[in-house]
Symmetry: C2
Subunit: 247 residues, 2 copies
C-alpha cells in the first residue's frame, strides 16, 4: 500500500532541495529500473505495477528490494512522467564523486550545459562511445534531476559524472584539450588522438572565455546547409564519432 | 489588445484537430520568429512583447505583418512554452506537400518517428547537413506540432517535409536505400555515395519489416561502450555526418 507519507516523500524528490535533504533521488521507467537493478546503487524501495514486479521478480528477489505495488494511476500521481505504467525507485544519493584526472581514453567536459534532457542524452552518448568520465562545470544541470536520469536510458549506471571548476580541472590536464566551436578547424581534416579531453559548451553561449583559454585545439563540424548550429547533444555525438572512427 | 476570442483561437491551435480545421499553426520563440519573417510562409498575425516588436520592427514593416502587443505574462497564457518573453505567430498551413522522388543528394525517410522533439531535431540536423527533403511515414509526428516547430530552431523554413506510404515511395526509388540498424555493416567501413536515401526507424521498434525489405544497405554505428542504442535524432546526425565527411 502506498501511504500518504510515502506519496509526499516521493513527490518531494522531484525537487533538488529535497533530494539533497533526503539524500535520495528517483529512477523512473522500465528500462532505467532494469539497469538500476544491475547496478551498485543502494535502492531504498520501489513502487511498481504488479506486471512490472512480476517481470523483475528474480532481480528484486536477489537484491532483496522492498516493493510497494501500485496502479498505473497511482504511479502517475507520484512520477515526473506524464504516464508511467512500469514504476519508480527511490535510490540513495551516492557520495559526491571527485573528477578523475584524465589520463587515458576520452573524457568529456561540459561547460554549463543547462538542459537536463541534453545532459541525459550526452550521458547516453558517452556510454555508447565508451567515454567513462564526464566532468561538468558547477552550473551544468544536476545529474540526479529525474529528466537527466530518464534521458540516459539506463546509462546513468555506467558513466561517472562529477562537478567541479572546469578552469581548475583543465589547467592540470596533461592531455590535449579539444573544444567544439562554430569557427574552429574542420574536424574531418584534424588528426584526432585516442586519449583526449573534449569540451562542449552552453546551449546558447557555447564555451566560456575562461574555459576556451585552456583549450589547445578548436574543432568545428562542417555545415552543408543553412542551420546556424547543432544542438549540443547532437554535436557531442558527432564529435565522439569522429574521435572513435579513426581509433 | 489581445481579445478573448483571439486567446481562444490561439489556444485551439495547440491541438492538431483545430490546426486542420483553421488551416493555421503556431510558431513560437525569438529564433523561429526571426526565421519565419525571412520565409515564404503566410503570416496571419503575430503576438509579440513590445521589446520583441521593436527588435523586429524593420522585418515586420516590410512584410506588413499585423502585430498585437502583449506582456510576457499574457504570452505564457497562450503559448505552448512554459515561458515565452518573445512572442508567437499564427501562420497559414500551406498546401500539403507531395514527396519529391529522390534523384540527387541525400533524402531522409522517417519510418514512424513518433516523438515531436525528435522530428524537430532531425529537421534541424537535415538543415545542417544540407538534406533538403524528409519523407515521413503517415505515423510520424506531425510537422506542424508546436514542439516540432520549436525544436527545429527555424530550420522548418528550409527543409521540405512530406508524408506518404514509405513502402510505395521507396519501391519507386532508383538511388541506393540505406537504413540504420543495430546489426548492419560498420558505417566506418562502408563506402557511402553522395546521392542516397537514408531511412531511420521508430524510437522503440526501429525500421518496420515492410520498409526494411526495400533497403539495399544496412548500416550500423559501431558501439564502444554498453548503451543499447542511440536516440534516433542522434543516430541521424552521426549517419549524415558519415555520409558527408567523405563527399
Amino acid at each position: 500500500m502506498l501511504s500518504k507519507n510515502t506519496v509526499k516523500f516521493i513527490k518531494s524528490l522531484h525537487l533538488k532541495k529535497y533530494r539533497r535533504q533526503e539524500k535520495a533521488f528517483l529512477v523512473e521507467g522500465a528500462k532505467s529500473l532494469q539497469e538500476l537493478l544491475k547496478s551498485q546503487y543502494d535502492i531504498r524501495f520501489m513502487v511498481l505495477t504488479q506486471s512490472q514486479a512480476d517481470l523483475l521478480a528474480n532481480e528484486l528477489k536477489s537484491r532483496r528490494v522492498e516493493v510497494i505495488i501500485a496502479t498505473a494511476n497511482q504511479l502517475e500521481q507520484i512520477s515526473t512522467f506524464k504516464s508511467n505504467d512500469a514504476g519508480l525507485a527511490v535510490v540513495t544519493l551516492p557520495e559526491e564523486r571527485s573528477p578523475k584526472p584524465a589520463s587515458k581514453g576520452l573524457t568529456l567536459c561540459l561547460d554549463d550545459v543547462r538542459d537536463p534532457g541534453n545532459l541525459g542524452t550526452i550521458i547516453r552518448i558517452a556510454d555508447w562511445y565508451g567515454v567513462r568520465e564526464i566532468v561538468c562545470s558547477e552550473e551544468t544541470a544536476e545529474f540526479y534531476n529525474p529528466k537527466v536520469i530518464s534521458a540516459t536510458m539506463g546509462s546513468f549506471c555506467r558513466v561517472g559524472v562529477s562537478y567541479t571548476s572546469l578552469t581548475e580541472y583543465l589547467s592540470e590536464i596533461k592531455l590535449p584539450v579539444y573544444g567544439a566551436f562554430l569557427a574552429g578547424d574542420n574536424i574531418y581534416k584534424s588528426e584526432l588522438p585516442s586519449d583526449a579531453v573534449i569540451v562542449m559548451g552552453n546551449e546558447s553561449n557555447g564555451i566560456s572565455d575562461e574555459v576556451a583559454a585552456l583549450i589547445s585545439h578548436r574543432l568545428t563540424i562542417p555545415s552543408f546547409g543553412a542551420a546556424e548550429s547543432l544542438n549540443v547533444a547532437i554535436a557531442t555525438a558527432v564529435i565522439c564519432d569522429n574521435f572513435r572512427r579513426g581509433a
